[in-house]
Amino acid sequence: MINQIGAYSLYICLFVSVYLILKSYISSKNFDKKIDQTFFATLSVQLLMTILSFFTLVFAFVFSDFSNITVFNNSHTLKPLFYKISGTWGNHEGSLLLWLLVLTFFLFIFFVTSKKMNVRYRILTILFQEIIILGFLLFILFTSNPFLNIFPIPDEGLGLNPILQDPALAIHPPLLYVGYVGTSIIFSASLAALITKTVDNVWASHIKNWILISWIFLSVGILLGSIWAYYELGWGGFWFWDPVENVSLMPWFCLTALLHSIIVLKNRNVFHSWTVILSITTFSLSMSGTFLVRSGILNSIHTFANDPSRGVFILTFLLFLVLLAVFIFFFNQKNFPDTYQRSFLVSRETSILINNWFMMFFLSVVLVGTAYPIFLEVINDAKISVGPPFYHKLIVPFLIPFLFFMALGPNIKWIKDKIKKLNISQIIFLILSFVISFFIVLNTNTNYLFSTLLFTFSFYLFFNVINSFQKKNSNLSQKVSHLGFSIFMLSILFNGILSKENSANMKVGDEINFLNKKLIFENVKVESDSNFKKLVGEFKLNDNGKIIHFKPEIRVYSQPETITSEADISSTLFSDNFLVFSLIKNDGFFNVRYQHKPLMIWIWISVLLMSLGGVFSFFKLNEK
């Protein structure tokens, strides 16, 4: 019964979507001054139906209705309520329903908050957004219907991947989806603005909020995924350059570039076509991400289902949207306003352009590293693996000039500025940064020019941002975000050169000494939780007189049978101590891995600071 409600509301959505596409296409041909009230009504119906259908599925998960095949495959009566709910979007079908919910919700919010904008522009945005919604509806209904019945009704479900039973991961997908899906509005709106010849500074300040929302959610979503990988996967790292991680990073680079170029469009009314290209690319990258993750072309923890027909559908839909965008872009190029502005080499515009070049470079590196192996396998049947060394070698050297320009950029004025003969404070910062970095690198035996320069320019950026807090002219959100980035760089660098680790096979009672520390394996206990059994190890670390107790776990889940290692991490503001143990064989030995990771928590804090800058900008705290 409940399944039918969900399915029928999706069909109503489908009809509304088709109606809205026709309606908005016809309305866009007439230049009415007023917008038709039916738009509001139909959009509301569509939103309500999507909400109804989504909550039907949540309801089925909460009450373990195993007549629903999605619930049967992904839930279990013994699962805690929180994970029953998060199980709704922890699978392919449910997560698509969440996509749809965010798509319709964003369109609705866009419609009610854009009343001051051009009528035709609003109607066309609805048209493009409805095309995307229709595509997703067809995808859901015909390849990934979450409301299929199973008969006879099973007594028990098959569980949710236990590795996904983690609070950070339960809320990571929804945040990421808001970021991803937010880019769809930017896409639709930029195409609409292009057709209606309204790509200008008014449009820029209107669409900037949507860019900010997507950017904030995407940043926090990626952060949570990282935190989860650090705590749960038990590898002690937070970024692995896994293709699926890269897929979320690529739209982020593009969105960050867009966030900067839209400021130029808003303030100086230049970069029209570049901004539109970035808007189109960002959404295309988000969609490609969906394709790569959902088609099974990649194999990873994130791969939901390996159904080739789904891959073909998303790919074809993606091709359609990208070609549509390319056609609209090229056939409306004359619509870009002819506002030639004289530009000067030393200006804020140039510095933001430099930011965009770097973002595009980082994006290309990640794109090549992610897509090239797929292409090579298809064309040449060769399997290659692109790992962290590739990304580090190509990205790290370019961070040095990037940091330098990032430090200087915000100090430069719009239109035209002068390079002052000798700016004393800048020279002091640079020398100070270099001296500090020199001694840091000297004391850690990493005698690389690279490390020194990276540290130097990270400190240089840091000092510049701190210094800018004294000035009144520049804006708060930019300062906070840039401060976040400088702390991010510094904590990654310190973390990189000061991390230590030790791995050993131990049994209960063993004691090992390393790096002036003593680790004792005191005991191991068997305990039961509601849906898993666990082995709890008790370890004592004596670090120069400071005692730290660790209780890492090995969990054995029953539905489906899976073994996971839970690291025990003791975090302080200065460093993390990380201990994880895993079963080797049944002879009483465990593999014990200890890691000392300085400033780990600052990596998380710095990303939050960057996002906070976005929040400040969204709430217009700069203008006060």
Binding site: I150, L158, I297, V312, V322, L323, V326, F330, V378, Q559
Partner: protein, 174 residues
Amino acid sequence: MKNNKIFYFIVILIVAIFFVLLLGLKEEKNYSPQPETKKLNNSISLQELYSGKNIFLNDLLLENELNLINIWASWCLPCKAEHPYLINLNERFDINLIGINYKDNLDNSKKFLSDLGNPYDEVLVDSDGIKSIELGAIGVPETYLINNEFKIIKKFIGPLDQDDYENIISLIKK
């Protein structure tokens, strides 16, 4: 004019990328074009469903019979659809049928076999799905036909149907 060239270039580029990705999707599903290169990975070992013993997949393959590996799961509805074909094959022909139980609950898979009949000579358990992926599986069900040199000579993606069934029989009778 210059813009026109860029336009055509971009459109062609996008369409080319589309086809490469489309091929990427199709690739694993096609019958392997050069069967002789696809020798089975001889290091795959899995637990037997009922005894729990670790067995090397290679040790189960027979040199004097056609070997058929079927990857299945009790939660997989298409597996139920192809099940009668498997039962028929094993009852009526000399064929060594090995089942690999993919990402499944052991009780459910045993119940599945006791309810619908067990067509397999041996059933191995692949609880995390890794070994099936090593074999080249992209989902369930999949069925691989293996010759007496232990090479995969044919892959059937998705549930077996009447055509596949007759196809297999014709190969057995050869």
